[in-house]
Amino acid sequence: MDTENVRVVIPEPEFLSSGMYSCPGCMAALAMRHVLKGMGPNTIIALTTGCWAVIDGPFPYTSVKVPLLHGAFGTAASMARGLRASLDIQGKEDVQVLAWGGDGATFDIGMTALSAAAAYNENVLYVCYDNEAYMNTGGQQSTATLPGMKTTTTTESGLAGIRKKNIVEIMAAHGIPYAATASVAYPHDLLHKVQVARALKGFKFIHVHSPCPTGWRIPPDQGVHMAQLAVKTRLHPLYHVLDGHRYFMDFDPEPAPVREYYDPQNSRMLRLTEEDMAAVQAGVDRRWQTLSVRCQQTQAGP
């Protein structure tokens, strides 16, 4: 599928209100906007702690027009399991459950709960919005932080052997019906993925790259641009995996060097040598190569 030309009509109805408590240019808010358009009104959100716990607004206000349950940190997947069970026993199998968490809640503190929900193939969609650090608390390192990026808790210089956790591969390895990446910069692709996922029964996972202008110290109008660069540099390839083994590349951009993603963010970059950048590039190239081979194998058939 050619993501830039994918024919998806973005539905008119809005499930977010104005007056949200997001920062200017918040990409997490944009991610939720698109995902809810894909899910529709018959949805309940299990929301774990993170930026979105704030964005929604303070009690008694809310900016979300579908039922939303705030929960403790790292519990999105567990809450989603509880909602699913509760709805099913009450004969409401048609109500969809959307689990929603940031990268800290997903890659880190919620990992065991997420893995269990996937292994038991719960009929829910889990969306992780990834802004590459604990942005709600001001930008501490998570296992979604890219090597060479400086956070408020970074103690080492250079790459320090750090790798960003490959969450989609971990989720796909559970053999779930659907595991995908998406980006706020490619709303048609994101929306299409939500629509595909909601139609499948079982556990679905979408990893949405979602830049944080405030935390990354970039202008508020640069979020989408940075998200585009992440895709074009292949740092965040757009693809999906069916049943843990059938791979599909959703966008094959003319590759740009990873420098193009790192350089505009020098305010949050550690001092990286040419060798460091070459190492980051090599990691990105390796991953792309692996993905390409798997996609070709899928094309070739069993």
Binding site: F59, P67, L68, L69, G82, L87, I89
Partner: protein, 385 residues
């Protein structure tokens, strides 16, 4: 009604069946595992029409149950010790969210050193999480407390923790009355939540709350807990009328003219009854106060029961290191400044980590109590140092 020989874990699972629990999430931990297995069996056999969530941790158990309850289902689980501690964060959440969850805790000491035997240090450490805490002496009482627990929880919208002692209750077989489901239905109607997550009527629940409202919300928890004293009393009386058993918030046993009253909670109470009877047979004026509710604390009943005693001895199967047994503190606090507050209240620590508290040990407590021991520090019973 059927009378079946079973252990405490099986009785607890039957309590969930008779309460028509709709969602359960569970994680195994000794000595609670039998409850999880029995629940799974009840669900698998279709006896209990519920969803069974096999969780990967106790933290997730409670998170799943919170969400399931928010979506309108009656929910139940059981845990113990380290598992309870892992849930701690969400125990506060469940109470703050005003959810009528009922959970059995099978009392087990907290490690280190690694142990799996009984004491109540696990649950007293959760005293301030906003749950109602009930302590059971024997297994029928546990089953009954679960049914009563839902009855109370769904009226006051607070969660209820039903405690049974690990090993002494969990693995002891007793004849248990399994009531007819229809009769329990007459006592416990289906759960009708005042608010629930429903796309037909969307609500956002538990969003960020600032200083201008938080205190008032906590005060509502306080009021609900205060109110639960009367609700629990009524629920117990109604249960007594229908099923022939009532337990009270406390039970004063042979306290009328007692000079010395022993106070305790849980399975130890069964041993104390025997010892009291033996001493009474010798003409000694000794009574027993069984405390069933640690929260809400039935201070009025405790004061009443201890009014005429010359001396009180609280036997705690737990210790708050640096202060003493928790029930001792609670009783002293309830008596302080009251008309019943004019007597020595002694604190005894016994049975930690599964050490048996034998009638001989209780005799030692009685002897020590009569020897004018210090009142400001706890006395460790049968300590080998």
């Amino acid at each position: 009604m059927e009378r079946i020989i079973m252990n405490g874990n099986s009785a607890a699972a039957w309590g969930a069946v008779l309460s028509r629990v709709q969602v359960t999430a569970a994680y195994p931990i000794s000595p609670q595992t039998g409850i999880v297995e029995a629940l799974a069996e009840h669900v698998a056999s279709g006896r209990l029409k519920a969803k069974f969530i096999m969780s990967e941790s106790e933290h997730s158990v409670m998170a799943s149950l919170i969400a399931a309850s928010e979506a309108g289902a009656r929910v139940f689980t059981a845990t113990s010790s380290q598992g309870l501690a892992l849930m701690h964060e969400l125990l506060h959440w469940a109470a703050g969210a005003r959810l009528p969850i009922v959970m059995v805790n099978v009392n087990r000491a907290m490690s280190a050193p690694w142990t799996m035997y009984c004491d109540q240090s696990d649950i007293v450490a959760q005293r301030d999480t906003g749950w109602l805490h009930v302590y059971c002496e024997q297994n029928q009482e546990t089953l009954d407390a679960i049914i009563q627990g839902f009855k109370v929880a769904e009226q006051v919208m607070l969660p209820v923790m039903v405690n049974m002692d690990g090993f002494y209750n969990s693995y002891t077989t007793e004849p248990i009355d399994i009531y007819d489901l229809e009769r329990v239905d007459g006592y416990l109607p289906p759960y009708k939540p005042p608010v629930k997550l429903d796309p037909e009527e969307p609500h956002t629940l538990h969003g960020g709350t600032g200083p201008h409202l938080f205190m008032e919300m906590r005060y509502q928890n306080w009021e609900a807990m205060e109110h639960s004293l009367a609700v629990a009393q009524d629920a117990d009386e109604e249960f007594g009328r229908l099923f022939g058993r009532r337990y009270g918030l406390t039970e004063a046993y042979r306290c009328e003219d007692a000079e010395l009253v022993l106070v305790s909670a849980g399975s130890l109470v069964g041993t104390l009854r025997e010892v009291i009877d033996d001493h009474r047979a010798l003409g000694e004026k000794i009574g027993l106060l069984k405390i069933r509710y640690l929260r809400p604390f039935p201070a009025k009943e405790v004061r009443q029961a201890l009014a005429s005693a010359r001396q009180v001895a609280v036997i705690d199967r737990n210790v708050s290191v640096g202060m003493g047994g928790v029930f001792w503190q609670e009783v002293r606090s309830a008596l302080y400044g009251s008309e019943s507050g004019d007597k020595p209240v002694l604190g005894f620590i016994a049975g930690l980590g599964g050490r048996d508290v034998t009638p001989k040990a209780i005799d030692q407590v009685i002897r020590l109590a009569r020897s004018n021991p210090p009142q400001d520090v706890p006395i460790w019973v049968e300590l080998k140092v």
